[in-house]
Symmetry: C2
Subunit: 384 residues, 2 copies
């Protein structure tokens, strides 16, 4: 198995953007090649993480369009879809392409264009991620989040405020991320008094609808050592599913896909939860940051809310989580989000995070599809 | 790089089917596991080749549904989309998952459900594969085929009859394929007198709209050697793009993606065109069988039509092409087609093709996305 490095990263401004997803992909892809000082013709494989360009824009074959726009033809290209975890699945696919020896230079670009749709159009597509026995009866992702949040608060005696503190923290981090959709602090009262969406969760417990793109460039570590000033090594990566029908889960406050993908990534890397210095978690809903940080072993089950209250996950805490602002304030362009998590960890590990910079040698991303239906966990370490 | 084997294969009846794509995927996936005598919990990775379940059915997250239906949770799962070559891209992804060491048992299931759509709904989605500067002005895939066929006939002094002979041959082969959509012979006059679609091509020069699914099971060769009665080894596999805008190609009678993906697969395998005993080519339009068989080096440029006239590509010829009946008579459920090509070559190489059986040790599949926008070529050999 070839040891795999990331040697370049980029992301576009997230938010409401003009143009189409192909424009955003080209912008991120080109910036990533420039960041790594690699020419388009050097790319062997080009992966595009995108959930639904066909549904959102009536355009398919987007990877071919990107190969054309970047000048990367005849590079092999393919779309990677794993719903809201398409970006993490793209990292896994790009890693496999280099680790298998099929490619010596793989560009991954994730992106989605959504804000031109009405909210109903966008949420109809997102609802179709889940099982028809649930979503066709109105039990969509926000409902699962509300039900699970209520269960969590009741089971672990956690105060409602603790969820709001996730939103407050991530908005605070987002202020220092020039690419974030929302760069404004919010206080506890603002979150707690925002309109109810799925009780007990309110508007500020949810990530927004976003346009955006992010990119990462992969090659063998031995190539990175030769030419790159700095690089990040993929120490471990794993993916796993949980039940597609959420009501079949024995305990909805545990996400089996997070536990299992984390175990694979930990075992491959030789690291454990105690070795992680910084993490990007999939805070599509505030409650998800609690679940992932427990299911990945950062905190004991039922205790993540205390860690958040104590400031452990703040930028100056022992384990900073979502230094980028997370999906909550950075935004969540479906196919881009997992790649943008990788961008943040890469940027932290090579020491280019500016005012967001934390002290980190090992970082982790966790990208969640659906309501934990499929999860990819990636562990990266600073190159030697 | 781990050496990769295929140890099981299946396909459903192709044609007009009831149910949804998830039903078809489950049918093929389960049959494949039974063929290989492997239990669902033994699967590490599960790939689904599918172009457009969201557009055709309003359902996304289909890989998670399949993991659920097969009882394969917590296997990692992901959708592979490369438009009409999604199946070939799935073979490449499954190969990478085993070759990289990420998975010791990978199930690939390709499928599409299309016949419940109106022809306009289905062709609108298919048209969106190509570049908007072309398809939005009415230059869709059938138009490219017509224009290219005219150019080929004029440039190489080929008679119109030669194209029709591809349809006649593939329909004849399809009669012996119990899974084929059309199991009836057609004669030259029927093809040549069918309604014009894109001059000079007529209805019988085109593949139909089809529902169906096919599956392949991959593992390391050393695992296959231990437990499988017979297996096929992936000797070489490669993918490559050509211009997304077809009118930018210097010579539309040559498909750069076929040439380049073929070169990668030949080099990796150590085989050349002269070593191939049987091939499945992407005959979405009759003209494409000529182009691929030339661009893969089976015949000199401009001479494939003579080979077809001389019977070289018949089942009892020197190089049987599309023994399955091809897309032309077997049908073309987009995401399934490349996997079904693999099914046919696997079946031929393990000697289970019944009345379609030819004498073969080495076989090749070529799966074409769009009008050659992205192509995957796979070379397989019978296990030792």
């Amino acid at each position: 198995m070839t040891d795999v490095a990331i040697v370049g990263a980029s992301m576009t401004q997230f938010g409401q953007r003009d143009g189409w997803v192909s424009d955003l992909l080209a912008e991120a892809g080109q910036a990533c090649l420039e960041d790594a000082n690699v020419a388009p013709h050097e790319i062997d494989h080009l992966y595009v993480s995108n959930m639904a360009s066909g549904e959102f824009e009536g355009q398919t074959g987007v990877p071919n369009m990107l190969a054309h726009d970047l000048g990367a033809i005849p590079a092999y290209t393919q779309r990677v879809d794993q719903t809201s975890s398409s970006g993490g699945a793209g990292i896994y696919a790009a890693w496999q392409s280099v680790a298998s020896g099929a490619s010596d230079m793989t560009l991954l670009v994730g992106g989605e264009k959504m804000t031109h749709c009405t909210t109903k159009e966008a949420t109809d597509v997102i609802a179709s991620i889940t099982h028809p026995v649930e979503y066709k009866h109105g039990v969509t992702l926000p409902s699962f989040a509300g039900l699970t949040a209520r269960l969590y608060l009741d089971t672990y005696d956690a105060p409602r405020d603790s969820l709001a503190r996730v939103a407050v923290k991530n908005h605070k981090n987002g202020v220092d991320n020039p690419h974030a959709q929302f760069r404004k602090e919010v206080d506890l009262d603002t979150v707690l008094e925002s309109p109810i969406v799925a009780d007990p969760l309110r508007l500020y417990d949810f990530c927004p609808i976003t346009d955006g793109s992010a990119a990462l460039l992969f090659c063998p570590v031995e190539v990175a050592e030769e030419y790159a000033d700095d690089y990040v090594r993929i120490a471990g990566v794993g993916g796993a599913t949980d039940t597609h029908v959420v009501h079949e889960r024995a305990d909805p406050t545990t996400m089996g896909g997070v536990v299992d993908s984390g175990e694979i990534a930990y075992e491959m890397s030789g690291y454990g939860p105690e070795d992680i210095d910084v993490a990007e978690l999939h805070d599509m809903f505030t409650i998800l940051e609690f679940l992932q940080s427990e299911d990945l072993g950062f905190f004991e089950k039922g205790h993540a809310w205390e860690a958040v209250e104590e400031g452990v996950t703040e930028r100056d805490g022992d384990l900073p989580i979502n230094t980028s602002g997370g999906l909550k304030s950075k935004g969540h362009p479906l196919g881009a989000s997992g790649v943008a998590q990788g961008y943040e960890i890469y940027t932290q590990l090579v020491g280019e995070a500016g005012p967001r910079q934390v002290d980190a040698e090992v970082g982790l991303c966790c990208n969640v599809g659906g309501f934990g239906n499929c999860v990819i966990t990636t562990i990266m370490e600073a190159g030697q």
